[in-house]
Symmetry: C2
DNA sequence: CTGTTAGCGCGTTCAT
DNA sequence: ATGAACGCGCTAACAG
């Protein structure tokens, strides 16, 4: 492993001169520049960014800490992050928390030790503590997808409340009055916001107030399945289901299939999160589509800007619109 | 940012003693150990792994270089890698090559500069050069999913040839004689192996020899769509399609749908790669299922073992079995 | 069991 | 325009 010293001595210059050539910093005569490049080439010199980072206190490394990369929504966000980071010369660590605070804490500690420049965080809890920790470690943060208290951090998320409201409006227009919400975990803001939007939809002052039926679970297939079984056992039975993420939606559809309840004939279903076009033949669910790739891209851009010294103490909460895509999983009722 | 020096002086010991305590290396008396821990706690000491790596020449960092994390097959592999690496105390960089050699080369260079300990590589071309490059940089490698020439590297892959053969056997038993293969790119071993298995299936010496119909494309939805259109325009028209990966399969199904060709009534379809149970309600395609998570896990385990000095110059090609899952996309004819 | 010395590879600082 | 000296934070090698 040749070092910059080796390159320098082969080129007959001081190490710092070689450094200047390789980093395109400072003035070096064309003659020396040429000789340094040739020496580097000849030796197959590969700069050691570990040493560089130790000196410069910048690692050009980011981390994406999310719940589960296996969820196509997060996969798409991740792709947006990686593309954007890579274009700007940053590498990205990926960390799956599985919605577990213990895992999140462990990862943040490791990332601090690795001296990453910035973290894109999907927080497991609605808590400012992780942000404080990272800041104290001199690591910049952008929060993705979820609100947290405090005004000390950038947040990029979607308008879950409004989108949920719109979904309910859709169902009401079709005549539905018994709409069950299959929700995500309490304390996760995206889940809570969808509850709020659902409630606003039911209690619209211009219309009748409809009965509230909220089931609380996890953002998983199993939970979606369970909640749907519970919903089906109620009397009176719902005519429509609102699944608050993609995994819950799949679980719900499986449960309905197992219970021989045809969709949309006997049950309308709407959901949050689309499945990527590349993995579904005949898109069927009426969904609220979050711009996943764009979220990842914007968050990364913002983070990198912040690393470059922009924004300083100016923190923004960027709320992206959600698009409702009507498909074939709902129908109007008597 | 307190350093180990700060910890040491607060504890009243030499830096190396503090180092020994923090790294659980060497002997330190309980008394001093206690004092060092207390000092570290009090200062909120966070070890700088950059410095540590510079000294020790080990970064406890791996990289997964694959084609596209957006493909659920690769997402699952990635999850297997991350879980396994994380358990062993390694962090993972993710890199998407999009099957482009130029991107792969750029990533490998960056990873060399970052001094990762090891790389899990899904090579874009059937070429030993990337392996040689990494070895020369003193970076260990495990090849995932694809064969490459040379016996100088561990390979973890599935038996694509046999699985493709089995798929064709299935179709032949159902009476199909005009089976078109919608293949992946030439030179990608997993694609080539599926071609070989297809050919063996058609030319089984115990049976009639069937006509060979191979379309070559990319592992993408668009390509699958195109190839299917081409297949449908042939005379005589195929009775069965073999899609050689999941994206091609989805593209094929879309094309068939657009052409009003019902599956399986007028066209049987089999494919490589399953879609995760969590994102599909009613599994429909008869597929060859590769153990994606296990592939990621095994490859990572092997890589970490190698880093620990095991195996030395012993290289293995581990070929995992593929499971055929019969579902509803085929039917017997005439 | 503990400490001293030295140096990993690089770039900032200051000098020439 | 080029270079010398130094130190980033840590641990290997060697002493005692």
């Amino acid at each position: 492993m040749p070092t910059i010293r080796d390159v320098a001595s082969l080129a007959g210059v001081a190490p710092i001169t070689a450094s200047r050539v390789i980093n395109h910093s400072g003035y070096v005569s064309d003659d020396l520049r040429q000789r340094v490049f040739e020496a580097a080439d000849q030796l197959g010199y590969v700069p050691n960014t570990l040493a560089r980072s130790l000196r410069s206190k910048k690692s050009r490394t980011l981390a994406l800490v999310l719940t589960d990369i296996t969820n196509p929504f997060w996969t798409t966000v991740a792709r947006g992050v990686e593309d954007t980071a890579s274009d700007a010369g940053f590498s990205v660590f990926f960390c799956n928390t599985d919605e577990l605070e213990s895992k999140q804490a462990r990862y943040l500690e490791i990332l601090a030790q690795k001296r990453v420049d910035g973290v894109l965080l999907v927080p497991t809890t609605s808590d400012n503590q992780p942000v404080l920790y990272l800041k104290q470690q001199n690591i910049d943060v952008v929060i993705l997808d979820r609100r947290i208290p405090g005004n000390n951090v950038d947040i990029i998320r979607c308008d879950s409340e409004e989108a949920a409201y719109q979904l309910i409006v859709r169902l009401r227009k079709l005549g539905h009055r018994r709409i069950f919400l299959l929700s995500g975990p309490v304390g996760v803001s995206s889940a809570d916001d969808r509850v709020s939007g659902y409630l606003r939809g039911l209690q619209d002052p211009d219309q009748d107030i409809l009965p509230v039926n909220i089931l609380r679970g996890e953002f998983t297939l199993e939970s979606g399945y369970q909640m749907t079984c519970t919903a089906l056992s109620q009397n009176p039975c719902p005519t429509a289901l609102f699944a608050s993420n993609n995994f819950i939606a799949i679980g719900a559809l499986k449960a309905l299939q197992d219970a021989d309840v045809p969709v949309p004939e006997e049950m309308s279903v709407v959901a949050f999160d689309d499945l990527p076009g590349a993995i579904v033949v005949d898109p069927f669910l009426t969904v609220a589509v979050q711009p996943a790739y764009e979220m990842g891209r914007l968050a990364t851009l913002r983070l990198i800007e912040r690393l470059s010294g922009l924004h300083e103490d100016q923190f923004e909460e960027i709320v992206l619109p959600v698009q409702i895509t009507d498909r074939k999983s709902t129908r109007s009722i008597g």
